[in-house]
């Protein structure tokens, strides 16, 4: 059911600049619906970014991250044409993996 991420990865000097947009409800578990029942928590817990078999970013997220989160970071050691792979896993065990090819950029 999870919709694809939008990933943009480009060289910025000697680093790779990555921008990721994830489609996720990020429910905190503290909201109530129209009938007063609590909307169950549903949020991304782990985000992993790998490049050439190495983990370049690993994050533990919680309910304070917004709906449809946007993440922006840079890492060293990537080259144009190589792939960046991003995976998220949420508290219900749902997951989504997408990859992007590093572009030339500036």
């Amino acid at each position: 059911m999870a919709d694809p991420m939008r990933i943009r990865a480009n060289m910025l000097g000697d680093k790779v600049e990555v921008r990721v947009l994830m489609a996720h409800e990020m429910e905190t578990g503290q909201r109530k619906d129209a009938s007063g029942a609590i909307v169950p928590a549903h949020f991304i817990q782990n985000v992993t970014v790998t490049h050439a078999g190495k983990t370049v970013l690993s994050a533990q997220w919680g309910t304070s991250i917004s709906k449809n989160p946007f993440m922006h970071f840079r890492f060293k050691g990537g080259k144009p044409g190589e792939k960046v792979t991003i995976t998220w896993v949420d508290n219900k065990g749902e997951r989504r993996t997408d990859e992007a090819v590093i572009g030339g950029g500036s």
Binding site: D3, N68, H72
Partner: protein
């Protein structure tokens, strides 16, 4: 202690520095707000809706198992690029003036075989109930990004819609005796921190009209021009604006005249 004696000098210095800076401080605030918006725009979640809309557009759906790829948005069957920059406009096949959303609905009915009542029953998304129309509108609008708005105003029905829109825009009504012009008729007005565009001023209209549909951060979803009008009518305590009604399209024809030449920046990003 020398501190108390220093204080007056410091105060004078602060005052002297602040007096010529009042206007500059406002400029700076505006600039910072612009910078903040730019930063947000880099990660505009409307991108996700565009992608979803594109998928919906190209997937065979509905009772006829057809995609929307043959939809005629005004530039011929199958042309999506640039179509949004030429809307609203008169459509010969339906014999009425149509905006982006009413045209998408027409295609969903004629090509895919959906029932009009079913699609337009819940056109706006709510938590747990996503809206295909919001995604489709994002996709089609995004395909005109960077182009200049040039909605036609030649056909007699387009002229008629313009005049209806003009009447609606200026006509005060309802328990608050409000009209669109009550909020959108003067420059430099705002509600709390929200600037109110003067919709008959091309400078404002070009920026605003071309930025819908837009991702609303406070609502966590893309909202369309139809939703904007629906919400304005609710805020004015006027009768409910029906989705893709003649009135809703007439108002857009009216606004589009002043927004002509504005660069399409949809889907935008808003509070």
């Amino acid at each position: 202690m020398s501190f108390p004696r220093l204080l007056p000098a410091v105060l004078v210095g602060v005052l002297a520095a602040s007096v010529p800076c009042v206007c500059q401080a406002q400029d700076d605030t505006q600039k910072e707000v612009e910078r903040y918006r730019q930063l947000l725009a880099e990660g505009n979640p409307a991108d996700l809706f565009e992608a979803k809309g594109e998928e919906l557009w190209k997937t065979p759906r509905g009772p006829r198992k057809a995609s929307l790829e043959q939809c005629d948005l005004g530039l011929g069957a199958g042309v999506v690029k640039g179509a949004f920059a030429r809307l609203p406009r008169y459509s010969a096949d339906t014999d009425r003036v149509q905006d982006l959303e009413s045209r998408i609905v027409t295609c969903m009915v004629t090509l895919q075989g959906f029932k009009q009542e079913d699609i337009t029953k819940n056109p706006f998304s709510a938590p747990g109930r996503p809206s295909d129309l919001e995604a489709l509108a994002s996709y089609v609008a995004g395909e005109s990004k960077g182009m200049k708005l040039a909605a036609p105003l030649d056909h007699p029905k387009e002229m008629e819609a313009f005049r209806i829109g003009e009447r609606l825009f200026y006509r005060r009504a309802g328990p608050h005796d409000f009209a669109c012009v009550s909020c959108h008729g003067e420059n430099g007005k705002r509600i709390r921190l929200q600037e109110l565009p003067k919709l008959t001023d091309p400078n404002d209209a070009r920026k605003i009209f071309t930025s819908w549909p837009a991702y609303r951060v406070s609502q966590g979803t893309v909202r369309t021009m139809q939703h904007r009008l629906y919400d304005c009518y609710w805020q004015m305590r006027h009768p409910q604006m029906d989705y893709t009604s003649e009135a809703s399209i007439a108002l857009q024809v009216f606004m589009a005249k002043y927004a002509k030449g504005g660069e399409i920046r949809a889907p935008g990003l808003k509070r």
